[in-house]
Amino acid sequence: MIYVTVDSIGKESVTKHQPFLNDDQNDTLLFEKLREHILTHYPNPEHIGCPAPEILKKLIDTPRAVGLSDLNDLHIFKCAECTRALMELRKQREQVEQNAPEV
């Protein structure tokens, strides 16, 4: 059996301990974490199984027009390249929206 002193696991372990984090109504933190995880753990440099770039663009611009079969079901959840492309497309779209003149 291993014994440890209270001092050795006291404050230090509390500060190292992963804190519980509160998310918002849109589950923003959850999906941010998910994206981080997929970018780190699912590299796919050969784009195996990736939907065409136009489909990803459509998913951002007109998501209603894209079905699960177009996206190869849950492939994006296993692909850092698609995730990166989606983030880039979303950023571009937000920039366009910001620059658009107000009506």
Binding site: S13, K16, H17, Q18, P19, F20, L21, N22, D23, D24, Q25, N26, D27, L29, L30, F31, K33, L34, R35, H37, H41, E46, H47, I48, G49, C50, P51, A52, P53, I55, L59, I60, P63, R64, G67, L68, S69, D70, L71, N72, D73, L74, H75, I76, F77, K78, L86, M87, R90
Partner: protein, 199 residues
């Protein structure tokens, strides 16, 4: 009804939206234009059968697409070396290569020993500071058996579409779609110790 628009779920076969969707990453030889058309026709011919093969050999119909992409590239390489062939013949070549790929995948999977899944681990294990364990999650396990509507909603939200917009797209309310996705969200939350707002 939205769910009726997506008749496949889980192990059922997926409809083929467009054969060219498989080929955007494939390098067709510019001097042999017939190959591209023959391969596109071949995909249409064998797609249903290929999905059934993926399901029976690998146990997962969603692998059909990536197996198909690998098979397409190999088929193109093979067709380049010979004279022009009809779509039927291209289909036979493509299907043969597809089966080979499925068999390779099947053999590779056989060598793995699966002892449960990440989803079955208690969340405490990932929070323990003394265990530098990479809390990798297996989304396949977490989302296994979820309805097509839930999977679609999660993908839309993942692409940074807000729940309100997701609900509009799926013809429901934000609250309703979150309730539908709740089980999957809860299981993902457990992996990263993220609490819902106000809980």
């Amino acid at each position: 009804m939205w769910a009726a628009e997506i008749p496949y779920c889980g192990t059922n076969v997926m409809p083929l939206s467009s054969p060219s969707g498989f080929c955007w990453n494939v390098k067709f030889p510019p001097e042999q234009e017939w190959i591209e058309q023959a391969v596109l026709d071949a995909i249409e011919i064998i797609w249903q059968r290929a999905q059934k093969t993926a399901r029976s050999r690998c146990g997962d119909v969603s692998l059909a697409r990536e197996l198909m992409e690998v098979a397409i590239q190999k088929t193109v390489d093979r067709l380049q070396a010979g004279p022009p062939v009809a779509p039927d013949e291209a289909g036979r070549v493509l299907y043969r290569i597809f089966v080979q790929e499925a068999r390779c995948r099947q053999n590779a999977t056989r060598k793995l020993v699966c002892l449960g899944s990440n989803a079955e681990l208690p969340p405490v294990a990932a929070q323990n500071p003394f265990l530098p364990v990479d809390s990798a999650i297996d989304l396949d396990v977490i989302l296994h058996g979820e309805a097509a509507e839930v999977r679609h909603a999660l993908l839309l939200r993942y692409s940074r579409t807000s729940w309100t917009e997701v609900a509009t797209i799926l013809g429901t309310t934000a609250a309703s779609i979150r309730v539908r996705c709740n089980r999957a969200l809860k299981r993902i939350r457990q992996r990263w110790s993220i609490h819902e707002n106000g809980t």
